[in-house]
């Protein structure tokens, strides 16, 4: 685990994904002197103040200007530096999708885009600050790898893995303060290789991001009722791990995808697109944010409204396995 201690993970878990991100960036910055950060008036929001203090010459704030956030980063990457462009997932990729496509994607530049507070965690702030579409947008950009880590430890691993990969990466971050540590011990994180969190033969729940915790909780409830539940952590949305899906389609009776994202273009869509090529494959149920703007309310309220809770996921599986 290198510089990463369990104590640190516990603190990150308590503070939420932004702290995990900002502090992991300090460790990454120490590990790799070519790592730069570009923000759009988001340095404190993304908990990058410590990074700025540690590396005052390696963080640039372009102001509230997301298009330039991406193109400025593209210019740095063009000249061999490795920028991490950081803002709310509500604004990148959506507000600068064209720059991500035409500059970073088209020239296949070694630049990373990080969307913090993806999903609906900003519940009371309203729909302008939700990112329900970021996976759909990022997936549609050629050359982009798309990551969606599930816990504080995986955020750290995903950032280091993104830095190892020579090319464009979008990293979607979720996880409210108190999001659990799902990987307390060192583990292998490989881009494009999902993690079989738990094995099982009846249903396979495939989740991405911090709602993996809800998927695991649902699996616990179902196991109490005697069902055998497989849980897969699909931390890489693109490229999709087809090998693990092959085994799911062959071995499980029901597939359930779980994500804090629109019904269109995210994990559920990616799995369904691949499954379309199979003559024989199990049914797929999708738990997601639907195709609608959300009501305003607390994060817990948002998750409940969308069936993204342990009992709701468990109930859905039970109803459909009968």
């Amino acid at each position: 685990m290198g510089n990463l201690t369990l104590e640190k993970l516990q603190d990150w878990s308590k503070q939420g994904h932004r702290t995990a991100f900002g502090e992991a960036m300090v460790l990454l910055g120490q590990d790799n002197s070519n790592v730069y950060v570009v923000t759009a008036d988001t340095t404190p929001t993304a908990r990058l103040t410590n990074f700025l203090k540690t590396f005052p010459d390696r963080l640039f704030d372009v102001g509230i200007a997301e298009q330039n956030l991406i193109d400025f980063s593209a210019g740095l990457a063009k000249e061999g530096l490795m920028p991490f462009a950081v803002t709310l997932a509500a604004f990148a990729p959506m507000r600068c999708a064209e720059q991500m496509r035409s500059a970073i994607g088209y020239m296949n530049l070694n630049a990373k885009v990080v969307g913090i507070e993806a999903g609906v965690r900003f519940g009371p702030l309203g729909n302008t600050h939700f990112a329900m579409d970021d996976l759909a947008v990022a997936r549609a950009l050629p050359n982009f790898t798309v990551l969606s880590p599930s816990d504080p430890h995986q955020i750290y691993k995903a950032l280091f893995a993104a830095a190892e990969l020579d090319g464009p990466v979008y990293i979607r971050l979720t996880g409210a303060p108190g999001f659990p540590i799902l990987y307390p011990d060192d583990f292998e994180f490989k881009i494009g290789q999902a993690i079989e969190y738990r094995s099982g033969t009846d249903v396979a729940i495939i989740a991405t991001g911090a709602v993996l915790a809800q998927a695991i909780g649902a699996a616990d409830l179902l196991q109490e009722k005697g069902l055998s539940v497989r849980v897969i952590d699909m931390h890489t949305i693109k490229p999709l791990d087809k090998a693990i899906l092959d085994s799911v389609f062959a071995e499980n009776r029901l597939v359930v995808t779980v994500e804090e994202h629109s019904a269109i273009g995210g994990l559920g869509s990616a799995v369904a697109e691949y499954k379309a090529g199979f003559a024989q494959a199990p049914r797929q149920l999708m738990v997601n944010l639907g195709d609608r703007f959300q009501k305003v309310g607390s994060y817990e309220f948002q998750l409940q409204e969308n069936g993204l809770t342990e009992p709701a996921i468990a109930r859905l599986v039970e109803e459909n396995l009968a």
Binding site: V62, D71, A74, G75, K78, L81, S102, A103, Y106
Partner: protein
């Protein structure tokens, strides 16, 4: 420094680039080409490639090369023509313009090994990327300059101004941008579509601004470019080169119909005969 010989040499290159541009536009057939905005920029691009920039066609990826970004990517004919005349692209490659599997589409793609530095065409992006490249040179203590040609219509893009203020903040005095002020954009005169007092706005954003009254005159352009190189103001530099859209081809000059259009045999021959008179 600008001897009559060096100016004359650049003028000859510009004349050859105009001929190349017409050739490429002609082989594109019914696909047509953006003749007007390319022809206005010929002297700007020629002055950079044959008078100002440090570059080496034998070593296109040379670390210390000056960088060139054609932000108004639709004007790629003048860019490709400069690369042909400088020796980055062969004449065979030139004749693939807009062809199947060509590396020379109607808006530049990125192939540094052929001198094609940055993929552009979606307006505003090239300039903003150029600002990032200039920043990278500062970070790495590299002494090369970044030159960027943008369109006057392109200055309508919000991204231009996002990048312009950030360039001032970071004191990117290694960045020299040239606006090809041909006073037309796709749908009309710039005064009709979006009337901007470019000099005033760029100055207000904190750029050092110079106006070149005749942006198709090589000597004037060289004077402005060299003044910017030596200015020491600590600011990013902007040259507003007042040019003629479609410059050099009688029926294309100041004719909006030639912003982008196919050229037929008769027009092609007329263009050739116009160029012989130069």
């Amino acid at each position: 420094m600008n001897t009559r010989t060096s100016i004359e040499k650049i003028r000859e290159k510009a004349a050859a680039m105009r001929r190349d541009s017409i050739e490429m536009g002609y082989v594109a057939g019914s696909h047509g080409a953006h003749f007007g905005p390319a022809l206005s920029s010929i002297e700007i691009v020629a002055s950079l490639y044959f008078g100002v920039m440090n570059h080496n066609p034998q070593d296109p990826c040379m670390r210390e090369r000056d960088r060139f970004v054609m932000s108004k990517g639709h004007a790629c004919l003048s860019y490709y023509a400069a690369l042909v005349e400088a020796g980055y692209l062969s004449r065979e490659q030139m004749y693939t313009f807009k062809g199947d599997n060509s590396i020379l589409p109607g808006h530049p793609s990125c192939h540094v090994e052929f001198g094609l530095e940055v993929a552009t065409g979606s307006l505003g992006n090239g300039f903003a990327i150029a600002c990032g490249m200039a920043m990278a040179a500062k970070i790495k203590n590299e002494t090369h300059n970044v030159y960027c040609v943008l369109g006057d219509g392109e200055c309508d893009e919000g991204l231009i101004w996002e990048a312009a203020m950030n360039a001032v903040k970071n004191k990117l005095d290694n960045l020299i941008a040239i606006v090809d002020r041909n006073s037309f954009q796709l749908a009309g005169k710039t005064t009709e579509i979006m009337d901007l007092d470019l000099a005033k706005i760029w100055q207000a954003f904190g750029w050092e601004v110079v106006i070149v009254e005749d942006g198709n005159d090589v000597a004037s352009l060289l004077d402005a470019l060299q003044a910017m190189q030596q200015s020491g103001s600590g600011k990013p530099h902007l040259i507003i080169a007042q040019t003629v859209k479609g410059k050099g081809i009688s029926f294309m000059e100041n004719n909006l119909g030639w912003h982008a259009a196919p050229i037929n045999r008769e027009q092609y021959e007329q263009a050739q005969s116009d160029l012989e008179l130069v």
